[in-house]
Amino acid sequence: MIEKAFFLYFAFAAVAVSIITVTRRNVMHAVLCMLLLFFHLAGLYLLLNAEFLAAVQIIIYAGAIMVLFLFVIMLLNLREDVKKVQYGRLWFVGVIVVCGILLAMAGAYVFMVPGQRSDWTIGRIVAETHTAAIGQVLYTRYMFPFEVVSLILLVAVIGAIVLAKRQLK
């Protein structure tokens, strides 16, 4: 019962906060609302027994990515934008498309038949703790994608240097 109450709070608050995020005129307010959104999502992960994901969500999104956002806003001095028109002329098209997608998703979930369960049941994950479970799967069965991700990170580093360096020889 209490778990359900927490779920309802996190879910509704997440939706409300994201709507506030996209409707703010002041970029700084929008970013701070997004920070709230990240915390609520982390709460949802906690309710799913995924404490590792919750921690990662807070450390990476609320920590690292948010700081980047704030830096960019401060460097660009986006306060000027407050006076400009906030939405383009075709904003209602976006709203219609989003509502359409939302309807399709909601309709599809009515017909959702959950598939087979793997041998990682909730009881087993709780017993072994979520972090240990992810580690075991990641370094055994999903070793190959994990290695490929290291290449992706390398490309990201190269890309950041290529795009940000002042003068390339």
Binding site: A104, M105, G107, A108, Y109, F111, M112, V113, P114, G115, Q116, R117, S118, R141, Y142, M143, F144, P145, V148, V149, L151, I152, L154, V155, A156, I158, G159, I161, V162, L163, L168, K169
Partner: protein, 478 residues
């Protein structure tokens, strides 16, 4: 796990080492030509390991077989030819070499992983590796605002389509409980999920996402701007590589994951392919910039390639793959000519710039003539053979109206390809065009020209070889 069990993965491993090597070479200030030479030698070495590489690895997540190897051959040739045509371009732009080739190599690894993926997670990381590298490549000329704009547009559209793909994957995982291609297909079949709206939605989302990747209408809007703004060798590289990788995945996913929804995806493909051929060919008619025209032409070619997927049997897939193979040479050839016109003070990417090229540079004009004829699909060039096989497979599967539409659209396409030829041969030269060719560029032109003529004149040898290569895989699949 001993090293021999990784044998099917050797081409990827060699390329990854090559990428790291190139980055190191860039540090030690050697002559820039050596870096390109290393990159090409490494590509050939990886090609050597591709021979006879087959097998299943990592719990069936990765599979090297005839199908993926054929695509990998296309990726290698694409990488090799793109490096050949980049050398001069990078010198003109005074840009850095090492990172450029390294990113191309990493993008190619991503494509190879996509073609070999048998699991949604592997597919996704391969896709990310490829896309991330191509985003950076598109914006490689940082001081050029067009290049930066093209990179930002590509990044936004790419992120958007990847999100759609992930949604599709999540839905199929939710309703089947597995990430493995074959397992999903079997589960959908055995639990009668083919009429389930969630599964259908997942199919639609995955198809929409890859329509973005291969620039099929109505998800093509990003392509012209990105292709025009990106550095010309990158345009050549990404109008073939990511497109071929997208088709490799589409073919595999449709046949392995959603075989029980065949009637659904056939009708979606018919709509998308007709729309793509229409938009690509009609919009190409009014372009004045040749890179932009080739972008629309590449959209139109995506339409013909989608036609090859519609019958869904192994012969039509063979037709699609052969077409990609042929398209590689026609496209690289055309872009090589564009690059040869580029010099420090002359952009050379307007169609007007080609006026009178036949009088001032007859050899280059005749090469461009061959490439344009091939793209339009006029015999005896290879372009005709490619279209012929796709259309004949369509007729065999009784898609008569679709074939007629395809032929009509290729007639329309002849107009804008031949307009370039008309400018070269029938207009007086407007200005003095100085051609700057280098031996590597000439080599690329030579390879493209020879292959187009060779496949055009001796199609039988080529086609039968291509069929043999991946017959085994499709026998087990269909």
């Amino acid at each position: 796990m001993d090293i021999y069990s990784l044998h099917p993965l050797m081409p990827e491993i060699v390329l990854a080492l090559l990428g790291l090597c190139i980055l190191m070479l860039e540090l030690t200030s050697m002559k820039k030509e050596y870096i390109a030479l290393t990159a090409m030698t490494g590509t050939l070495a990886a090609l050597y390991f591709l021979r006879g590489s087959s097998g299943v690895l990592f719990d069936g997540m990765y599979q090297a077989d005839g199908y993926s190897n054929y695509f990998k051959l296309i990726f290698f040739l694409n990488l090799f030819l793109s490096i050949l045509i980049s050398i001069k371009y990078l010198e003109v732009e005074k840009s850095s070499h090492g990172e450029f080739y390294a990113l191309m190599v990493f993008a190619t690894i991503g494509m190879m992983i996509m073609a070999s993926a048998e699991n949604m997670i592997v597919l996704y990381v391969g896709l990310e590796l490829m896309s991330l590298s191509t985003y950076v490549l598109a914006g490689f000329l940082r001081h050029d605002s067009r290049s930066t704009e093209s990179a930002v547009k590509y990044l936004l559209m790419g992120a958007f389509s990847t999100a759609i793909l992930l949604y599709g994957i999540a839905l199929s995982y939710g309703s089947t409980g597995t990430m493995d291609f074959q397992q999903i297909g079997l589960y959908i079949n055995s639990h009668n999920l083919s009429g389930n709206p969630v599964v259908l939605l997942s199919l639609v989302l995955i198809m929409v996402s890859f329509s973005f990747k291969v620039a099929a209408a109505p998800f093509h809007m990003w392509a012209p701007d990105v292709y025009e703004g990106a550095p010309t060798p990158v345009t050549a590289f990404m109008s073939i590589g990511p497109k071929a990788a997208g088709f490799a995945v589409l073919g595999k996913v449709l046949v392995m994951v959603f075989p029980s929804l065949r009637s659904d995806w056939t009708s979606i493909l018919i709509v998308i392919s007709v729309l793509t051929m229409l938009t690509g060919n009609v919009m190409a008619l009014v372009q004045t910039n040749i890179k932009r025209m080739l972008a629309y032409s590449s959209i139109a070619h995506a339409g013909y390639l989608l036609l090859g997927l519609i019958p869904g049997n192994y012969e039509s897939f063979a037709g699609m793959m052969n077409y990609l193979f042929i398209y590689l040479f026609m496209n690289v050839g055309a872009f090589a000519v564009i690059i040869s016109l580029r010099s420090a003070e002359f952009m050379g990417d307007e169609i007007r710039d080609y006026a009178g090229l036949a009088k001032t540079h007859p050899v280059m004009a005749s090469l461009m003539l061959v490439f344009m004829f091939a793209l339009a699909g006029i015999p005896p060039t290879a372009g005709f053979i490619g279209k012929f096989y796709i259309f004949s497979e369509l007729v065999k599967s009784n898609y008569i109206w679709l074939t007629i539409a395809g032929v009509m659209f290729s007639v329309v396409s002849a107009f804008y390809y031949l307009r370039v030829v008309m400018y070269m041969y029938m207009r007086p030269p407007e200005r003095e065009v100085v051609l700057e060719t280098t031996p590597p560029l000439n080599l690329a032109l030579f390879i493209a020209f020879t292959m187009i003529i060779l496949i055009g004149v001796l199609p039988q040898a080529f086609i039968s070889h291509a069929k043999n290569v991946f017959f085994t895989m499709y026998q087990s699949l269909l």
